[in-house]
Symmetry: C2
Subunit: 453 residues, 2 copies
Amino acid sequence: MKQVIEILRSNRDRALAEMIELVRIPSISPGLPHPEAIGEAADWLERRLQRTGMDEVRQLVVDGHNPVVWARKHVSDDLPTVLFYGHYDVMPADPLDEWESPPFEPEVRDGRLFGRGTADDKGQVLMHINAVEAYLKYKGALPVNVLFAIEGEEEEGSEGLEKLLDSHRELFTADIAVISDSPFFAADCPSVCYGLRGIATAEIRVEGPATDLHSGNYGGAIANPAEFLARILSELKDRDGRITIDGFYDDVLELSPSEREGFASLPFDENVFCRELGSEGPYGEPGFSTLERIWARPSLEINGITGGFGGEGSKTIVPAHATAKVSMRLVPNQKPDRVLELLEKHIREIAPPEVRVSVSLGHGGHPFLAPIDNPHVRSAFKAMERTFEGDVHYIRDGASIPIVASIDSKLGATCLLLGIDVPEGRIHGPNEMLIIDNFHRGTEMIAHLLELI
Amino acid sequence: MKQVIEILRSNRDRALAEMIELVRIPSISPGLPHPEAIGEAADWLERRLQRTGMDEVRQLVVDGHNPVVWARKHVSDDLPTVLFYGHYDVMPADPLDEWESPPFEPEVRDGRLFGRGTADDKGQVLMHINAVEAYLKYKGALPVNVLFAIEGEEEEGSEGLEKLLDSHRELFTADIAVISDSPFFAADCPSVCYGLRGIATAEIRVEGPATDLHSGNYGGAIANPAEFLARILSELKDRDGRITIDGFYDDVLELSPSEREGFASLPFDENVFCRELGSEGPYGEPGFSTLERIWARPSLEINGITGGFGGEGSKTIVPAHATAKVSMRLVPNQKPDRVLELLEKHIREIAPPEVRVSVSLGHGGHPFLAPIDNPHVRSAFKAMERTFEGDVHYIRDGASIPIVASIDSKLGATCLLLGIDVPEGRIHGPNEMLIIDNFHRGTEMIAHLLELI
């Protein structure tokens, strides 16, 4: 292993130069402002993977979608297969005038590489490729079978790859999936993320009179949809923040004492956290810390509420209807369909007869969890421990990454979320950057992981 | 009196022709699409009033406002003074393609005159002028002193006239004001309106985090402004529709048993009323009928609610803020300032500490009431009884007409709301019309009133 690491270290300049080359390609997917750049980035990666000594490198194209760059190195049927997932598409770079150096002219400043896509996700993709290449070149053979799937639509919902997972499942079948597209808990706190929340969305619509009515001519004598919507919304959670939908918590997998201890040991001050957000203070389900609430407890949030007059000044009406969009974040072992069913039932039960209430169920996404005691999760932890300074922590994330849930559920692979980005990496914003040392250490981490699996 | 009525009857064709002439002038005030038409209508009325034999006819102009056509006939300091109020401005005529005949080419169909401004308010203005003229011409002298104030900004808020009431109060000082700018309870139910509700508006804003937050990364751990706004709104009224603001009902003048009887005797079916509005059924403060709730009980309505994402699809955020616009309709003897103060205090008391809650107080307007047993109200009732078929009723109106409240409070005049429009007159809408027979009878009613006062 020492030699693999040495090769990687001697190749650091080349690795950085390559990252700069890839980041120069403005492969923005949302809105496709540079459609040719998508093809250019995919071709670049195809060529790059060919040089690593893969058995097979292809661009998989689903009609109307950006290509997925796919590669395979088969070693033996007896060895586990590792799928390295990443994406070459990037977010738009607006607002351009807030960038200190142009987004697609990567610049090194203070040990960081600035540019759109450095952290999200081109740098991390190259980390996988460089590690596999170095291992293969030095050792002659990989200790696992390897697959690459580098898509070009992650910032738009991964539709093309989702279709391929269904139609060409055999190309992606793996025991372990390594996904490096997430940040450390903090720059000095390397972390392995082993859980994500799922999601379920819905829209609640309350209808009253056929048209907006003059509040002088009708006010006081007609049920007001905005008022009844407010009543319904305040009956979804209690005053303390606990969701009151019957059966909502039934399937929730409780945190183990060791997980809670782990979360508590993280360098996190919930008061500072709230202050930085401009919020008055921690608030949420009683009996849980802020991190527990975000990572391991389900939530229900009103995402938007609209009804009646929203312009300047006043328009004294009883609105004809009012609508709220809500989303719930789910934790293992909640199922989006089941939760939506419970929400609908609850609203049907509390719906006042004075108005017409309807619920439109939206999309759902499953939560994801790779238990801490899973041996592959432990290997990932060890690989990170060997390469990064500071204690490594197990963390979860409150967000939902649909493609992770799909890889987990469709392929049955153990997903390892091994991102080496940092929270201040400003992905999606101006001055996105990757700490160059993290990039190099991350590459070594992947090399260690290949051997530890 | 018989002769006055005879004169009026012999002049019906001329009266109708004149109304047609006045309605032809497109004196729209909102947006002023035909600015010259405002002057044209004011000039037309000035000339018309000059022909009646007034002592003095003038156009009063406040800078930046449309002229108020003003006239005076002084008979004796010992006689009461009657101010006839009306307006010559009209609403825009959109949507034009829904008119069966062009809005400014008045057409008689089926005993009705169709055209913008026929009912609101040109026909009713001419009713006043024709009655005063006939009385003066036949009898040689009026039994009261008469003032006319015909403004050109009623559809825009009467700002110019309001200023004149303050700056030139002496020009408008009267004992009685006759305002014909409102409908009968029903076409076959002539009615004297003796009360209007006041109004007070406010905006409630709830602020949480400094920016919208990702509901995955923060959901469940941050107080959601939309949720807390919903809680606040559902604590302004109880489930039955009674306002829960402390002290809110303290000043409310209760209905007398005879008023309640009067309302109950009106041809009104609250279930039909609700059905026609598309509402599920009567709803409001317990212990009161629908008409009582609209006319004589205060109300609090959410006019609009906005917060977070309101577009198509879903955007899973915790919104930074949420806002509700509310308006209260007030009844005698509630005072807008006092009620707003109570609202603000109530919200301050129930405001949860997890969010920042602010209340912006909006405009206020006083309620209006001329008690049924006021002798002038009785005279109006009698004048209507003598000229219209069917039982005359005392009614109130739930809306607020600020100029009425101003005439009432600034001049101390007893306001008589003697409109002869009908609910199906479609004022402000396409195919506005005035029943021609109501116009003629209304003119006779005003003549009778002059003598009854």
